[in-house]
C-alpha cells in the first residue's frame, strides 16, 4: 500500500494546529506562536502551508480566524474544534486525529 506522504503531513499538521489552539485556550493564539510551534514539529514547514491548513480548519468551522489588517492572523478553537480535540465527537476525514490510544 502506497502512503501519500503529503496527505499525512497535511492532515497531521491540521491535528497539531488543533492541539496548539486547544492548549492556548481560553485565549486566542497569534500566528507567530502557531508558526513557531509547527516549526518545532516540522522544521521545514512554511508559513503559507500553516495558513492554508488554518484556513481549511476555519472552513470546517473548527477554528475561528481573526485576520488583522496588519496581516497577522489570530486563531481560536470553536466549540466543535474543542469537542474534536477532547474526543467528544467523531472526526471526519481530513484531520489525522489518532485513535484514543490511552483509553483502551
Amino acid at each position: 500500500m502506497n502512503i501519500d506522504a503529503a496527505r499525512v503531513r497535511r492532515e497531521s499538521l491540521r491535528w497539531y494546529l488543533i492541539l496548539a489552539l486547544y492548549n492556548a485556550r481560553p485565549e486566542e493564539l497569534c500566528e507567530e506562536i502557531i508558526q513557531g510551534t509547527m516549526r518545532a514539529i516540522y522544521p521545514d514547514v512554511s508559513a503559507m502551508e500553516v495558513r492554508q491548513q488554518l484556513d481549511y480548519l476555519a472552513d470546517r468551522e473548527l477554528v475561528k480566524l481573526r485576520k488583522e489588517p496588519s496581516g497577522r492572523w489570530w486563531g481560536d478553537l470553536t466549540r466543535i474544534g474543542t469537542d474534536l480535540a477532547e474526543y467528544t465527537i467523531d472526526c471526519e476525514p481530513g484531520i489525522a486525529r489518532p485513535t484514543k490510544y490511552w483509553a483502551s
Partner: protein
C-alpha cells in the same frame, strides 16, 4: 492792628511751637514705627507659614521618592523571581503541543508495529 511782644514772649512762643511740632512729630514717628512693627510681624507669620508648607512639601516629596525606590526595588525582585515561578504562555503552548505530537506519533508507530506483528 499792631501786636507788640517782648523778646522773651517771642522766645516762649517759638519754644512752645517747636515743642508742639516735636510732640506731633514724635507721635507720628511712633505711629510709623507701630505700623512697621505690625507689618514685620505679619510678614514673619506669613514667612513661617510658607516655611512650614515647604517643609511639609519637601518631606512628602522625600517620602514619595523613598516609596518609589521601594516599589522599583520590589519590581526588580519580582522580575528576578518571575522566570523561576512562571512559564511563558508561548513556551507552554509550544512544549505541550510538541509533546502531544510526539506521543501521537509514538502511538502510531506502536500501532503499526503491532499490525506488522513485530510486537
Amino acid at each position: 492792628m499792631r501786636v507788640e511782644m517782648e523778646l522773651w514772649h517771642l522766645i516762649t512762643l517759638l519754644l512752645a511751637f517747636f515743642s508742639c511740632v516735636g510732640v506731633f512729630g514724635r507721635l507720628l514717628l511712633g505711629q510709623f514705627e507701630k505700623r512697621q512693627q505690625e507689618r514685620f510681624a505679619a510678614q514673619e507669620v506669613a514667612r513661617k507659614e510658607a516655611q512650614a508648607h515647604w517643609d511639609e512639601r519637601f518631606a512628602s516629596l522625600d517620602n514619595s521618592a523613598k516609596e518609589w525606590a521601594r516599589v522599583e526595588r520590589d519590581f526588580l525582585e519580582f522580575k528576578a523571581v518571575l522566570p523561576m515561578t512562571y512559564v511563558i504562555r508561548d513556551d507552554y503552548v509550544r512544549n505541550q503541543t510538541v509533546i502531544e505530537a510526539k506521543l501521537d506519533a509514538l502511538a502510531l508507530r506502536l500501532e503499526n508495529a503491532q499490525l506488522k506483528g513485530k510486537l
